[in-house]
């Protein structure tokens, strides 16, 4: 009407979308069924329903049990909020059966949950929803993937939590999941994107030109390299034009090590990470620098170290206070000083103690921030 254009009407009709109970559903019908299913986890998309009394031998083809591929631990920001986090996760799970979680605990962050996600997007959705819908403030640890270790005794184990990294002397070989990453970008970003992918241990590149000026690049990459901040980085270097899709392909041999972060010689378990040997140093340096910025000065020197086994690969030092004392302390100063201390003491409760070093929660969060290149 308002812009004066004319169109020929092809068809008119109404939507019908109401439940109409029937005696049965047969081949070709699209319908619904109501049953007394108590847990959402019992229902999987694509699954086959069969008669209890006369079951079919195998499900219909095409169904794949979805398995989590990305793992991260969720801890409440303050340990007092643990019961509320338990409750929120239980309620969350009611309408997201794909999230799997089990109890986890960390010396640094207290009690929490190790969660498995279908992928990166899923991880972000869970995090967002827990924060928005359930009003939780949470700390997530660095995402990990499920690694496979073949041990010298011939057994094979899978590990998705750095805490369960096996004794390195017993490892025969290790493998990590690889993906085929498909990235579509305008041609002008090809250089930066290829550089980014190679930095993330991308291999076997294939370049296609589906349409003029548009490039599809595919790389074989370790999943671990994209779970962290790959997508953010890609968006940054392509000024938002890049799109990214991936599918899991296979497990490939990889030289994996466990990187520990030590604060004054004590391991901060929540910051441990399984990482490719070539990438360990870079990560270690970065975490040490981040923590140096976040941990306040103490009365004594604080050493922050990244270590593989007993070998230190990165280090930063927080020098102690030079001076922190006021000259006067008489009558009225005492109450004032005590109040200041009481305030600091409250602040200390929100800190995590590693040995005698106070680490603010923000330090754990800062480690997760996108790395600087």
């Amino acid at each position: 009407m308002f812009n004066g254009t004319a169109h020929k009407v092809e068809e008119v009709g109404v939507f019908r979308l109401s439940r109409e109970p029937r005696g049965e559903l047969s081949a070709g019908s699209v319908g619904y069924m109501i049953a007394g299913i108590k847990t959402v986890a019992d229902v999987r998309i694509g699954d086959t329903i069969t008669l209890d009394s006369n079951p079919v031998s195998s499900p219909l083809p095409g169904f794949k049990d979805v398995k989590p591929v990305v793992f991260s631990s969720i801890y409440p920001m303050s340990s007092d909020d643990y019961p509320s986090l338990v409750d929120s996760l239980e309620r969350y799970k009611l309408n997201d059966a794909a999230l799997v979680y089990q109890k986890d605990s960390s010396i640094a962050l207290g009690q929490g949950f190790r969660c498995g996600f279908l992928g990166l997007l899923h991880l972000e959705i869970v995090q967002e929803r827990l924060e928005r819908e359930f009003d939780q403030s949470i700390i997530m640890t660095v995402p990990s993937v499920r690694y496979r270790f073949a041990l010298l005794d011939g057994s094979e184990i899978t590990v998705e939590n750095p805490q369960y990294y096996p004794d390195p002397t017993l490892i025969k070989s290790s493998a990590e999941p690889f993906i085929k990453a498909a990235i579509i970008i305008p041609e002008r970003y090809m250089g930066v994107v290829i550089k980014l992918c190679l930095e993330r241990r991308g291999a076997n590149p294939k370049i296609d030109y589906p349409t003029p000026a548009r490039v599809e690049i595919s790389f074989d990459m370790p999943l671990a390299e994209v779970v962290f901040d790959f997508y953010d980085k890609l968006k940054t270097v392509t000024q938002g034009y890049g799109s990214f899709d991936y599918e899991l392909i296979e497990y490939r041999q990889s030289d994996l090590v466990k990187l520990d972060i030590l604060v004054n010689g004590e391991r901060v378990d929540a910051l441990s990470l399984i990482v490719h040997r070539d990438r360990a140093r870079e990560w270690g340096v970065q975490v040490c620098d981040r923590l140096k910025e976040e941990i306040p000065r103490h009365n004594f020197k604080i050493a922050i170290q990244g270590a593989i086994g007993g070998k230190i690969i990165s280090r930063s030092t927080i020098s102690p206070f030079r001076k922190d004392v006021t000259a006067k302390c008489y009558g009225g100063d005492i109450t004032r000083k005590r109040k200041l201390l009481e305030k600091q003491k409250k602040g200390k409760k929100r800190m995590k103690m590693i040995g005698s070093v106070m680490i603010p929660q923000s330090a754990f969060v800062s480690v997760l921030k996108a790395r600087d290149e």
């Binding site: 001076k323 004392v325 000259a327 009558g331 005492i334 005698s356």
Partner: protein, 374 residues
């Protein structure tokens, strides 16, 4: 060790000829208000009749107590003695400024029973004194030191300030050396600080003055402690040095050990049996309340066990005595905090106490936090 459990009495004389730029103690520049104040305090004193045990220290602080005329001081002390009992060996201190002092006045003060003079020298460099907004010059300060000594005071303290923008370490050493020639029994060395109530706070905000670098502050502090130590002085509190233990200021030590004290006069603080209260910070209001027969108390707090514990840590680590190795309830203050502090050379443990080292003094305000909430 000049430490006792007897209570101490503080009287705040809130008058000055002019305000020094760094000072945030409550005082006014209105000599006309002195008579009303004197009348008011003579009403306040009886309010605490028999509420305290025998005192063994009296501290006349300010302000500038020596601004009071001799008869005014006499009237004040007469009233104090009428209502309060003092042990015969009491430490009776008056704070004095170099200007306006004369032998006659000092002798009267001595005859009134005052046996300790704390003289506000601050510096013996005229540039420093001008910077601080002091009314006296270095010559006047030297004369005053002489005068106090010659009037027969056997316990003389000199108050000094360091870490001024105008002052070099060498300049500070010159001041200290000249003060040491008088062999004062007590020296207080206050590091320059910018307090919200002082004129210099605003001057700092306006960029007219500024603090010296933290590194230099530490250097001043450590040098002072070492140098006075070499001259036989005990560094017994962050800012205080005594020629020998009996000259440690008995009165001030009460503040640092939760010993009861009564503070009279505007803005004065008192502490007794876990309760702290403080007077209004206005001469006018102070006089009016007492005129109406009411106590001029602004507010009070009752300290919980936890608060007392925290205070004993914060006060303890500011003194060479340190804090008891046993927290209240007999629990040991041990653990990782202690070993870290020992490793860093900030505290040492001796005679069942955790004592700050010289280096520990430098960060004394941060130490209590390490021991609480364990």
């Amino acid at each position: 060790m000049n430490k006792s459990d007897n209570p101490g009495l503080y009287i705040h004389i809130p008058f000055c000829r002019s305000k020094c730029l760094y000072c945030d103690f409550y005082s006014v520049v209105s000599p006309a208000a002195v008579p009303a104040w004197l009348e008011a305090i003579q009403r306040e004193i009886p309010l605490y009749n028999e509420r305290f045990q025998t005192f063994d220290s009296l501290y006349l602080g300010g302000g500038t107590p020596t601004i009071l005329a001799e008869r005014e001081l006499a009237a004040l002390l007469e009233c104090v003695h009428r209502y309060f009992a003092f042990s015969p060996d009491s430490e009776i201190t008056i704070e004095a400024n170099p200007e306006g002092l004369n032998t006659d006045k000092l002798k009267t003060i001595r005859d009134l029973g005052v046996n300790r003079v704390s003289l506000g020298v601050q510096s013996l460099d005229d540039g420093d004194l001008k910077y601080l907004g002091r009314r006296h010059g270095s010559k006047q300060a030297l004369r005053a030191l002489h005068m106090v000594r010659s009037c027969g005071f056997a316990d003389v303290g000199a108050d000094l300030m360091y870490g001024l923008e105008t002052q070099s370490l060498r300049g500070w050493k010159r001041t200290v050396d000249r003060v040491l020639e008088f062999k004062p029994e007590h020296i207080s060395c206050y590091q320059m600080t910018f307090e919200p109530g002082a004129a210099m706070w605003k001057m700092k905000a306006a960029g007219q003055v500024r603090p010296i670098a933290k590194k230099l502050e530490s250097a001043f502090f450590i040098w002072t402690s070492r140098y006075l130590g070499r001259h036989g002085y005990h560094h017994y509190e962050i800012s205080n040095f005594a020629k020998s233990p009996e000259f440690m200021c008995r009165h001030n030590r009460k503040y640092w050990s939760h010993t009861p004290y009564l503070g009279l006069g505007p803005s004065a603080h008192s502490f007794q049996a876990g309760r702290r209260w403080w007077n209004v910070r206005s001469v006018e209001k102070y006089c009016r309340l007492l005129g109406e027969g009411r106590a001029p108390v602004e507010s009070a707090e009752v300290l919980s066990g936890e608060q007392l514990e925290l205070e004993s840590l914060l006060l303890g680590f500011r003194t060479s005595d340190g804090a008891d190795f046993h927290a209240s309830g007999g629990r040991l203050r041990a653990g990782e905090a202690l070993s870290e502090l020992q490793k860093a050379g900030l505290v040492k443990v001796s005679n069942g106490r955790i004592k700050p080292t010289r280096k520990g003094f430098l960060v004394a305000d941060g130490i209590p936090l390490m021991f609480c909430g364990q």
